[in-house]
Symmetry: C2
Subunit: 419 residues, 2 copies
Amino acid sequence: MALGFSMVALHSRRTEGEDKIFATNNAALNAAKVVGSDRVVNASIGALLNEDGSLSVLPTVIDLLRNLPPEEYAAYAPIGGLPSFLEAAKKAVFRHHVPKGYMEAVATPGGSGAIRHAIWNYSEIGDAILTSDWYWGPYKTVAEEHGRTLETYSLFDEKDAFNLTSFKEKTVSLLEKQSSIVILLNSPAHNPTGYSLSMEEWKEVITFLRSQASNTEKRIILFSDIAYIDFSGDVDDSRAFMELFGDLPQNILTIVAFSMSKGYTLYGMRCGAMIGISSNPDVAKEFKSANQFSNRGVWSNGTRPAMTVLAKIFEDPQLLKQVEAERRTLQDMLTERADVFIQEAKKANLKICPYKAGFFITIPCKNPDLVAAALQKEYIFAVPLGKGLRFAVCSVPKIHCATVPQTIARIIQQVDADL
Amino acid sequence: MALGFSMVALHSRRTEGEDKIFATNNAALNAAKVVGSDRVVNASIGALLNEDGSLSVLPTVIDLLRNLPPEEYAAYAPIGGLPSFLEAAKKAVFRHHVPKGYMEAVATPGGSGAIRHAIWNYSEIGDAILTSDWYWGPYKTVAEEHGRTLETYSLFDEKDAFNLTSFKEKTVSLLEKQSSIVILLNSPAHNPTGYSLSMEEWKEVITFLRSQASNTEKRIILFSDIAYIDFSGDVDDSRAFMELFGDLPQNILTIVAFSMSKGYTLYGMRCGAMIGISSNPDVAKEFKSANQFSNRGVWSNGTRPAMTVLAKIFEDPQLLKQVEAERRTLQDMLTERADVFIQEAKKANLKICPYKAGFFITIPCKNPDLVAAALQKEYIFAVPLGKGLRFAVCSVPKIHCATVPQTIARIIQQVDADL
């Protein structure tokens, strides 16, 4: 926005960027009004939709939420979160793969709140936060809101595997300039690519961070964003890497961000938690204390009824089984869509980022904005990113996932040829 | 906490202060286990309780919340809040007293989130935020979390009226040092004193701020915290002062903080909004844009089902009437308790701060910690503040409100005599 007379502080003055997800979704909705929603492929929405376009929900979770006693909606939760919720969150996060170490948890509004606290409390103003070149846009928003910048390493190497070399280079270079580094690592089922680090890749990451921690003047904060973990295959296998967070040097703190948004289809309830793991009990205690203080100093406390629902689920094995069965149906639906998309992309010679699981598939391309615009004329609405298109398989029926890759391949060729 | 090895950023290192409200409440619960809850007066809790000690709720609100379609719990709200909610919030805030000017609203988690955004976006790091010497503790927490300090003026003059002189002095002095000033003004039914500025006092405040705004280099942000407005008498009379927020110079921005916590007994749902009013459309637009960016950069979005509930209430006059009738019953219960407390305090020659309405009554005294400790031996649990005791009439049955002032008066005399 053009800045006329301004009342905000210097650091809050900025030109308003267009929200591309919002704009793409709006364009899709408008097109649906004109040509009918069955002809429109709206791949902009980051939520899991059923084949008929309705939002996927876990009925057991909704039933629990609707049938709490009145006080559970009305009363404040404690600042740090209901203790029963924090215990449940730990179980939900680790299952059988609890890392060894001292552990503390603090409730946050979804994963976003955890990112905020991690950045604010574990980096200095002016620091750069590290993530991969394909990243969820709000990482940058949170960094900028708090006077930090975002730096990136290349997520993929030439073999479409995790680019450990780039990761190492950037980490080393930031640790030369800063006394601490916050690394935002979104795996499994990375948003936007759907990539998951293999166990081998995780081990290499941790081994490297251990080596960097030998400089005891430096502090390394590994922020493990697992927002999509419940849609990334087997419940236990997908969590095996978390054991690597145990027994690390005291100057490596791992923070795992838990969210009820996707795994419990409670996006709108804003409930999550951050779990800190350290080999030093003081660091764990400080984690609790600093982030609890931040809760009070930012949003006060969290959404109690959602906390109670998670506690109930993990107190009752039967309920947990039900939730998992319902979720499996959704995951199967998602996997089928991704499978057919990948298969058709291969047939169409359409290059995609290495997808393992999750809500999105990305298509690298040279002119994302032009390609996205041209696709809209074919009633396909995908979000242009810096280096490609984000296609939300989570929100597109299987029948469209089968036909769209052909069209995308054709449009990319056309756009590239026209330039 | 003693700082051993630390991982947090420099600005996040602090010694952990005891939460006195939490500690007092805990002591009360422990005492209740020993002597029975009927002998314990727990005046620490900042929520309205029924005479039997259960949490007061508005049944209509809870019914609405429980009977939404599944998608309303599951889906994300837009970053800035559901448009229907923002419209409802404006109605809930102003009723028939809409100030003239350009107005924008952004959803926040309760009033706390609005305080955070106002401080972050409208003051520079290092600035002092202004409020009165009796204040809600978290004002300081929010300021400190964000690298600001809190400065205070004397709330009351020798006649127990609003201390305009002190307010003016502090404002002038801060405006000499800073290019902008954020003033947190909690009225009506101020927490912790229960004071409400009269219309005359409000006019004087605004006239003074207008005069300060004649220096066009300075920016004045008046943050009107109305958390308890729905428990401060007549719905419309209590809002008359808000018309004064209209037609102000462009370098005065008024922000009104709306919360569903108390007025809709949805403390645990974390839903509120901040409404900015300016005579300059650019300032209103910037308000929307800056605070929406902050939403995305801090907690992402708000609790959708609570937003939907408020929208429903203000779309249906019959529902609004029902909610107001239910709330009136609660307000009458609260007023009766306060009335009897004040009456008995007078009989006992116990000085209290000038109470008009709200959840708390405060008793100024020289040694709040000692007095609070001595009262605990009589099974009376009130929160020690810097300059007195906070007694939560909202959570103490009427029968105790009638007897407690005598005891407090006696204990204060004893403590003072012993020193």
